[in-house]
């Protein structure tokens, strides 16, 4: 066990915990769906945990992220709590968005998460704008824009990369390349090279194993430091894999990818298993300690799920609140009642 490893013990364990939290959250969310306790559909982050955790651990809570339809991992990695998240997924009043957003719009402003987004690529401008604010206000904070490989097809990305590069904005474009856009291998719908696309705008670009939390974290930490010193923007392509279907209802996947491929990633490249093994090898934690971490998180999740199930829905009169900031009820307001009361 090297000195630096010892020094970082706490952080290593934190990385591990955060990944386990995400996986545990997702397993519970999937179960809620299967038990017909969750309204609608949701997209599982399982398999990609090292990406969200490796990146977000390099950020402060005042740094901003934008997230995607597959957003629970980013939200948790940026510091969100189980209870408010499960409440949101079930449409309850105590959810992060008072149940109005749900899985695809979960946001956690206090921890700098500007929200998941149900429009593929829809948050690329938002993250870039957060970086513009940081620069203009001189906050020294940074922004990370999470998006998938499929989202690279959206023209918006090229528009905002151009401006980010011109204006040297403190933003990282983090592409989680899990190989698929819904039910289509992205290789069939993406020409050329993703990295070259960013580089063409003069943006320094990196490719990293998205299953290796330490590699992701080290790369990001370096880039974040440079962003805080006025460099940037940067692009990172993270090679990763989603274990589950595109969403919880996507069960029969054989027409677009093989079972073998799925098994291989889960067996050989699982970010949690592999990092756990490394922690043991490095004598940072014993297998028992890791099990304890896991069971503690499982218990916490179970409690949060039950809390969310029991929690109340928003009152009916909330249906037209929060349409406009500063207006209590939108319906009277739009017809000219100036207080919207």
């Amino acid at each position: 066990m090297t000195k630096s490893v010892r020094k970082n013990t706490e952080q290593y364990l934190h990385l591990y915990k955060q990944m386990v939290r995400i996986r545990t959250f997702e397993e519970n969310a999937n179960q809620l769906y299967l038990n017909a306790k969750m309204p609608g559909l949701t997209h599982m982050y399982i398999g990609q945990e090292a990406v969200a955790v490796g990146i977000c651990e390099a950020l402060d809570s005042t740094d901003r992220i934008t997230s995607t339809h597959r957003g629970h991992g980013h939200c948790l990695a940026k510091g969100a709590e189980f209870k408010q998240m499960f409440c949101e997924l079930l449409g309850k009043a105590e959810g992060y968005c008072r149940g109005k957003g749900g899985s695809m719009h979960i946001a956690d402003q206090d921890n700098g998460n500007l929200g998941a987004n149900a429009i593929v690529g829809g948050s690329m401008g938002i993250a870039t704008g957060a970086a513009l604010s940081a620069k203009l206000l001189g906050t020294k904070t940074v922004a990370v824009c999470f998006f998938g490989d499929g989202a690279t097809a959206q023209g918006l990305w090229y528009e905002v990369m151009n401006m980010a590069a011109l204006w040297q904005l403190p933003v990282i474009y983090a592409c989680e390349n899990n190989g698929y856009s819904e039910y289509t291998p992205t290789s069939e719908i993406a020409a050329g090279s993703l990295k070259a696309r960013a580089e063409a705008f003069g943006i320094e670009s990196h490719k990293v194993d998205g299953q290796d939390v330490l590699a992701v974290h080290a790369l990001t930490q370096g880039l974040v430091n440079r962003l805080r010193n006025g460099e940037g923007p940067f692009f990172i392509e993270l090679e990763t894999y989603r274990y589950h279907g595109h969403h919880v209802g996507d069960i029969n996947r054989s027409y677009y990818r093989t079972k073998d491929e799925e098994t291989a990633w889960q067996k050989d490249r699982d970010p949690i298993t592999n990092f756990g093994r490394w922690l043991e090898e490095q004598d940072i934690a014993s297998s028992e300690e890791l099990s304890e971490i896991i069971s503690g998180i499982h218990a916490e999740a179970e409690e949060a799920v039950q809390y969310a199930i029991d929690a109340p829905y928003p009152n009916h009169d909330e249906v037209d609140t929060h349409v406009f900031a500063g207006v209590k009820h939108a319906l009277p307001y739009i017809s000219g009642d100036s207080n919207g009361s």
């Binding site: 309204p39 609608g40 559909l41 449409g91 309850k92 968005c97 008072r98 149940g99 109005k100 957003g101 749900g102 899985s103 695809m104 719009h105 987004n117 149900a118 429009i119 593929v120 690529g121 829809g122 499929g150 989202a151 097809a153 959206q154 023209g155 856009s181 819904e182 039910y183 289509t184 069939e188 719908i189 993406a190 027409y255 677009y256 829905y313 928003p314 009916h316 909330e318 249906v319 037209d320 349409v323 939108a330 319906l331 739009i334």
Partner: protein
């Protein structure tokens, strides 16, 4: 001969028949081929027509919409699949600045025969960016035709007409009705645009419903019947063109109308229909026209809230009853 098939099957049949008939008909969109779309509406088409005609695109709605416009101008008849109606916002420039105006701007020399197939409808717990009913936006733009099928029969007949039309047509399917069954003849048929369908005859009030709200109006008419009121139920089927004559005829008979649509109410479809009736059946009206659109809020995720935003049969019946009874008097 009639048979029962689902809305989804009706769409699939319409496309398959037209693709067989006309080799210039092609399909473009995300996951339209092997996956047959997330709603599985297009399953089997790629097997019959191949990947040259059933084309999986990248997630680039403006891009493939633009490509469809160019293909339409040069000999093809593309059907563009916009997975959720909410993504129309992404293609507005190509649809409204390009497709809609090309025939006019070219003085009639260029045609843009394409169909945008998309959907509408809330209460699927899909939240604000996957639940909108945005047909009012395209209906406002000259050069676009807009169809709103309400049954499998209409889904097939209107889509076939749309594919054969030499203009850009936007057709909105109610995504909650894909599994709904209905009678669809085996024989080929088309449904002409601009021809409303009278579903129920009645004397006391006309309920005009579009798309998902047609069944809501039918259910409301049942509730009204229990109260001894006879409601006429009318489905315009297309909102551009709009069968104004049929609507006016009905309202001139019943003297009252409730207009129901799942788009937002404010500056929405119900306004246009109500305004036309008010103007052109003015002297026949016995009561103000009631409009019921979706509530003017982004669609909330929580089921407890979402269900409040869409007109229900009970609400339609209640409003109809109140005008029939002369109770709804804002300005007395």
């Amino acid at each position: 001969m009639d048979r029962e098939i689902t809305h989804s099957q009706a769409v699939n049949e319409a496309i398959a028949e037209e693709m067989r008939r006309d080799s210039t008909v092609i399909l473009l969109g995300e996951d339209v081929a092997e996956a047959g779309t997330p709603f599985k509406v297009l399953s089997g088409l790629v097997e019959e027509f191949g990947t040259e005609r059933v084309i999986d695109t990248p997630i680039a709605e403006p891009g493939f919409m633009g490509i469809a416009v160019g293909a339409a101008m040069t000999g093809m008849r593309p059907i563009v699949d916009i997975m959720f109606g909410d993504f129309l916002f992404l293609i507005m420039d190509q649809l409204c600045n390009q497709a809609a105006k090309t025939h006019y701007m070219s003085g009639g020399k260029l045609n843009v025969p394409l169909v945008v197939r998309t959907n509408l409808g809330a209460t699927r717990r899909s939240a604000a960016q996957h639940s909108q009913s945005l047909h009012a936006l395209v209906a406002h733009i000259p050069g676009l035709k807009v169809a709103l099928p309400a049954t499998p029969y209409e889904a097939k007949g209107l889509l076939k007409t749309a594919i054969r039309d030499d203009n850009p047509v936007v057709i909105f399917e109610d995504k909650l009705s894909y599994q709904m069954k209905g009678n669809v003849p085996e024989e080929e048929y088309l449904i002409e645009f601009g021809q409303a369908n009278l579903l129920r005859e009645g004397n006391d009030v006309t309920l005009i419903g579009t798309s998902s709200m047609v069944q809501t109006c039918v259910a409301a008419s049942d509730l009204l019947a229990e109260e001894g009121m006879s409601a006429e139920v009318m489905d315009p089927r297309t909102i551009v063109p709009l069968d104004e004559r049929a609507i006016l005829e009905s309202v001139r008979k019943t003297s009252r109308a409730v207009v129901v649509d799942e788009g937002h109410q404010n500056y929405g479809i119900t306004a246009e229909i109500a305004a036309r009736i008010s103007e052109k059946a003015f002297y026949h009206l016995d009561a103000p026209i009631i409009r019921l659109g979706a509530m003017d809020v982004p669609v909330p995720f929580s089921p407890a809230l979402e269900d409040l935003t869409v007109p229900t049969p009970e609400l339609v019946a209640e409003k109809a009853l109140s005008i029939c009874r002369g109770e709804l008097v804002h300005d007395a």
